[in-house]
Structure formats: C-alpha cells, structure tokens
C-alpha cells in the first residue's frame, strides 16, 4: 500500500510521446526492437527490388498503341493488346453489332448487386428490383422480342456470362440449400440420410468433375432426343454445387438457434412448416448473411472453371483472345487486366461482408 502511495507522483509525469511525430511513429511501428528493425529492413529491400521493375514494366516501358503484335514486343507491357481485344475479352463471341446488349446486362447486374448492398432496401422492394432486373437481363441477352435479334446461348460470353452463372447459381442454389439444410437437421432418418449423402458427395469432389458430369455426361442420362442447352447445363452444375455449400452455411445458422425458440414454437402449437417458416428460418438466415456473401465471392471466382468445358466466360474469352496469331505472347498483360476485374468485384464484396459482420456482431458486443 505504502509503495503505491509513493508511486503516485510518477503518474503525474508527462505522458509518453505519442506517435504523432514521424520519428516517434517510425520508432514505435518499425524499429521497436532489433528483430523488428531487421524485418523492416528486409521488407524495404523487398520493395526496392520489386517495385521499380514493376513500375517500369507496367508504366514507363509500356506500349499503349501498336498496329500488331510484332510491333509490341519491346520489353514493357503491351497494353495495346488490351485495347485491341478489350471488346472480345469483355463480351466474347456475342455478335459485335449487338454490343450494347451485353453492356446493358452488365450494368443491370452491377446495379442489382449494388441495390442488394443497401440495407434499407432489403425486403419486398429488393425482390421486385431483382425480379425486374433478371427478366430484363435475360430478355436482353437472349433476344427474341421485336427489335431484339435472338442470340443463341452458345455465343453468350465474357463478363455477362460470368455474372449470370454466379448470380443465378446463388439465387437458385439458395432455396435448394435451405431445403437440404432442413433435411439434414430433419428427424426423419431417410430424409436426413439422403440429404447428408448429397451434401457430402458434392462437397467431397472437385467442381470440375461436377462440371464434366453436367456438360459431358448429363446428356447421356436424358431420354434419347432430349437436349439441354450447354450453358444451362453448366448453370445447373453450378446450382447443384452451390446448393451443397449453401446448405452447410445455412446449417450453421440453424444450429445457432437456441432450442428454447423451437420449444416455444411447439408450445404455441405451430406445425413443422409454420415453425420453420415463421420462427426458425428468419432467425437462422439473418445470422448467415455474411457467410452467404463469402460463398457468393467463392462462386464468382469458381465460374472461371467453365472454360475447361469450353464456355467463354471472362477467363475463357481472354484465353480465346490470346490465340490470335497476330497478337502472340501477351498472356501476362491479359491476365493482369482480367485479374483486376475479378479483383474489384471480389474485393468490394468481401469488404461489404466484413462490414456486415461487424454490424451484425454489434448487438453481441455489449
């Protein structure tokens, strides 16, 4: 006790220097110990070795316009290639004279995703917006109305195809995933067994085998003469795949619901359907929104796999553009370009999911 009393004057000393001044900041954040100083020096060395050549390649030595590939091999990046192939990379084999349609479709999708991120809109209005948006996008892509030339799905490509595959997979996979999750938690052993079997089977195999199944084998399983469109087959594969992963996400939410909620619902005399729809799902689904966004990011990246079954999504169209014999050897430039596109979508969505997670947890951090 006495010691503490004697220590009191120390507390009155001026506070330690805050890290407002540059030197103080440096000392605290970069050179706090010998080990940290070594790390800092190593990191600076790494940056010094990597950044200047990158900048030189990407900006200083880069070529921004060139008549053909031969004139573009001067050491730096050939952004002229991107300029030449931009249309094909983004919209692929879609008829060039109808270019405004895929552009509009991409705009619609971006607007819909943006709308889905505005929380006050969540609810009926959003459903209406999405319904209208999807219908419009589908009509624009497929055509068939007066004034809109029909375009077969084999020509759908580039960014619109990527967006369609990812968004529809989530939209249709979600209800299926909810059913599977409910089935997995069911008290009926046969239902539970089949749902568990499906979920584990799909999650246990790589997506490309599911895609191979859908695109190469599914037709063998259909009655003779019945054919399903190739894009639709890949879409079905994505829906089935997404459903299994979404089921596990939803199951996480279902498991987090206190048993008391279910008992209370039973006590009120609600039937299974009423209980599930009115008590269980609203709580469970609200809880899993952030992981749902993460699953969507995963699906968005996974759509790139359709190139293996010869569909021309964003990556597929890019690889296709790279085969032009007049423009050989610009894979790195093209990859960097579409990496930037994928990255912006995924980064934005992952930031959004982190934001949601923080907001959702706010209530629990009292």
């Amino acid at each position: 006790m006495a010691d503490i009393a004697q220590d009191i004057p120390v507390v009155r000393q001026a506070p330690p220097p805050r890290s407002t001044r540059a030197l103080g900041w440096l000392r605290v954040h970069l050179f706090s110990s010998v080990f940290n100083s070594i790390l800092t020096l190593l990191a600076v060395g790494l940056l010094a070795a990597a950044v200047p050549p990158l900048v030189r390649w990407a900006l200083i030595d880069a070529i921004w316009s060139a008549p053909n590939g031969q004139a573009c091999h001067a050491g730096g990046a050939c952004w002229a290639f991107i300029g030449e192939k931009m249309r094909f990379i983004l919209f692929g084999r879609y008829p060039a004279d109808q270019e405004w349609r895929p552009i509009a479709v991409v705009a619609i999708f971006i607007a819909m995703i943006a709308a889905a991120c505005v929380r006050p809109l969540w609810g009926r209005r959003l459903a209406v917006v999405w319904f209208a948006g999807l219908s419009a996008a589908f009509l624009l892509m497929a055509g068939g109305l007066p004034g809109l030339r029909p375009v077969e799905t084999g020509l759908w490509s580039g960014l619109p195809l990527t967006l369609i595959l990812a968004v529809i997979a989530m939209l249709f996979g979600f209800p299926l995933g909810v059913l599977l999750a409910l089935g997995r938690r069911s008290r009926l052993p046969a239902v539970r067994g089949i749902c568990v079997g499906y979920i584990e089977l799909v999650r246990g195999v790589p997506l490309i085998t599911v895609l191979f199944m859908a695109s190469l084998m599914l037709p063998l399983f259909l009655p003779a003469g019945v054919t399903i469109d190739k894009v639709l087959r890949a879409q079905v594969a994505f829906i089935l795949f997404a459903a299994a992963y979404l089921a596990e996400v939803v199951r996480g939410g279902l498991q987090a619901i206190p048993k008391g909620q279910i008992e209370a619902a039973d006590a009120l005399g609600l039937s299974y359907l009423q209980r599930t729809r009115l008590i269980v799902l609203p709580q469970a689904l609200a809880m899993v929104i952030p992981p749902l966004v993460n699953t969507f990011i995963g699906m968005f990246k996974d759509t790139s796999l359709v190139l293996i079954v010869s569909l021309f999504d964003l990556l597929g169209a890019t690889e296709f553009a790279l085969t032009d014999s007049n423009w050989q050897g610009f894979a790195v430039e093209a990859d960097v370009f579409i990496a930037a596109i994928y990255w912006s979508f995924c980064f934005f969505m992952s930031r959004y999911s982190q934001l949601l997670e923080r907001e959702f947890n706010r209530g629990k951090q009292r």
Partner: protein, 346 residues
C-alpha cells in the same frame, strides 16, 4: 406473412419462367434428321483453332476446311449454308460431346480407327483428308530426321491418335521422350513456339499450317520428312442412326463427284441443262436421289452452288488460294493420282 407468401410466389414465378425459357424445346425422340429439321439447324463440332481447317476470326466466327464441310451439309439439308451452330471442341471433349448429342456431327480432323469405330460408339463418314503424323522442330536444333529425337521434350495434344502414335514410334525405335500435353490445340502450339518443347508433333498438314499461321518467322521451323502414321481424317456421327450416317456419306461423295464431273459453284446452273444422265441424277434434274436420302431433290445442287465442290473447298481453305499453299498430293482425285474417289450416285 402475406408479404412473405407473395415473395415466395414471385420467386416461384421466376423459377418457372426461366426454366421454361431456358430449357428450350425438348426435341422429339427419333433420328437425327427429324431432330435437326425440327430445330431448323444442326450443330457441328470443330477444332478450337487450326489455321486452314477451322480458325475463328477476331469476332469468333469460324472458317476453314472443316467448317466448309458442315456448310455443305447445311446447304444440302436446308438449302442454306448458314444453318449450322459451330461448337469448338478440344480433342478430349469431342467424342463425349458427340455421344451425348451435344453436337450432331464432328468435322474435327478426326482420325478413323478401329476402336473409335467400335468401342466408342461412333460411325465415320468418307475420308475428307488424308494426312500423316510428322514432327516439327526449330531449325536451330539442327535435327534432320525423327530418329535423332532421343531425349527430346515433345508437345502433343492429348486425346488424339497422335499421342498414341508418338508413344508407339519411340517404343519401336527404343528412344525416350518427355511429353508435354496441353488440352487446347492453340495452347499446345503457343507452348511450342515459346520454346517449352523441342519438338511439336501432329498431323503434318496441321503442323505446316500452324508454322505458316502462327510462327513469328516460319523459316525458323522445319517439318521433318518422316510420316510415322496414316491419318485418314473423316467426319464422325453417332452409332445407331443409319439415315444420318448415309446423308453425311453422300453429301461428301457429291462434293467429290462434283469436282470429278467438273461441276463448280460457277457453272452448276449450266450443268443442270446437261444431257449427262449421271449429272442429271445427281443435281436432281432426274428426281429420286434426294428422296432416297430423305432430302430435297436439289440437295447436291445446293451444296455445290452454295459452298463449292471438293476441289474448290480445298483450294479456298488449304490450297493455292489460301495462305497455306498446300499441294493436293494424295488428296487429289483418283483420276489425277490421288485417293479421292466418289461412290456412284445412282
């Protein structure tokens, strides 16, 4: 509550609409011809990119020898060469795509072999191109014969007879090699021209075509003289539909017979007035042939009028009228020392 019900109803509506729109019309069960006539088009599997045979332009529109075969089929069946949906397929995907009904015919530089004809459940049309497997090497390696390739790294497309012949050849000559297999033919060639492999192997014509079409300096590369295999390339259809098989057979024969009889795109209308009974039968002036095939009587007329005879197709896509500048060689008519021989149309 009411809102939720409506939401689900709306969702169900979307599902139903999209399914209905997208599932397309399930074609009625039956032979291929009925199906494609009902659909108003057929789908044709072509290679993803071989200069001269099937090469997309910058809009992704395909042209070349393989494509023209399908155009001729379309012209004969529909009276319009444009009723074809071209499906680019890699060597690995093509047979499954045909078996499963995704495409109705492969015009895909496919080699006719016994196991493909039997185990794979395929049927081959007439040979449209006689080729042989060869090797291409950069000049700077200074290789003069395939026998000097021991230890080489070799680029090859998987799922082809090429891959098997390559293994056979090296086994027979007690040599070692390291295969680099990449699925898309254009990527195999890109890898070769960027120096990933010492040697590129494939159908000799394809090698020569890629050398001209893709190498930054064709003179840096040479195709070695050896031909290590026979590669008769033919269109392929599914096993079990004889009518469709017949149609493919006879349209190809008509293209060859057209060249033999001197019927060209330019003079086919003149030829209709000829007195030659064989030509009158073929062009449908004397009816019967079309009906026997289940096509319009002017099937052969349409094919030649709209696409040209075999010789014209060859010249335009692979021969002197193309950047490839290939000789006819064994792909000439039998009357000129080649192997192209049409079966009598009567």
């Amino acid at each position: 509550m009411i809102f939720q019900t409506r939401l689900w109803a709306a969702f169900a509506a979307v599902v139903a609409t999209l399914c209905g729109l997208a599932a397309g019309q399930p074609a009625k069960a039956g032979p291929t011809l009925d199906k494609i006539k009902q659909a108003g088009m057929f789908s044709c599997g072509v290679p993803t990119g071989i200069p001269g045979f099937a090469q997309p332009d910058s809009q992704g529109v395909y042209s070349g020898f393989d494509v023209d075969i399908c155009k001729a089929l379309s012209a004969a069946i529909f009276g319009d060469p444009g009723k074809v949906k071209y499906v680019p397929l890699t060597a690995q995907q093509r047979f499954t795509a045909l078996q499963s009904g995704e495409v109705d015919i492969l015009s895909n530089n496919t080699t006719w072999t016994l196991t493909r004809d039997t185990d794979l459940g395929l049927n081959f049309g007439p040979v449209v191109f006689y080729d042989g497997q060869g090797f291409m090497v950069p000049n700077k390696l200074n290789v003069k014969s395939a026998k000097e390739l021991n230890g080489a790294t070799i680029c090859v497309q998987p799922g082809t007879t090429t891959e098997l012949n390559l293994a056979d050849y090296f086994r027979a000559n007690k040599m070692e090699y390291k295969p680099v297999v990449i699925e898309k033919i254009d990527e195999v060639y890109a890898a070769f021209f960027s120096g990933r492999c010492d040697v590129m192997t494939g159908d000799a014509t394809g090698l020569a075509a890629q050398r001209i079409g893709r190498a930054s300096n064709p003179d840096d590369y040479v195709v070695l003289p050896e031909r290590i295999s026979k590669e008769p390339l033919a269109p392929v259809v599914r096993h079990g539909d004889d009518q469709w098989h017949d149609i493919v057979d006879w349209i190809v024969f008509a293209l060859i017979q057209g060249e033999e009889s001197g019927i060209t795109q330019a003079n086919v209308d003149e030829m209709k007035k000829t007195e030659d009974p064989a030509i009158k039968r073929m062009l449908g002036v004397t009816p019967g042939m079309g009906k026997a095939l289940g096509l319009e009587e002017n099937w052969a007329y349409n094919a030649i009028k709209m696409v040209g005879n075999y010789g014209e197709i060859f010249e335009r896509t692979l021969g002197m009228g193309s950047p490839m500048k290939f000789e006819r060689g064994i792909n000439g008519l039998w009357t000129k020392g080649g192997l192209m021989y049409a079966i009598p149309i009567r």
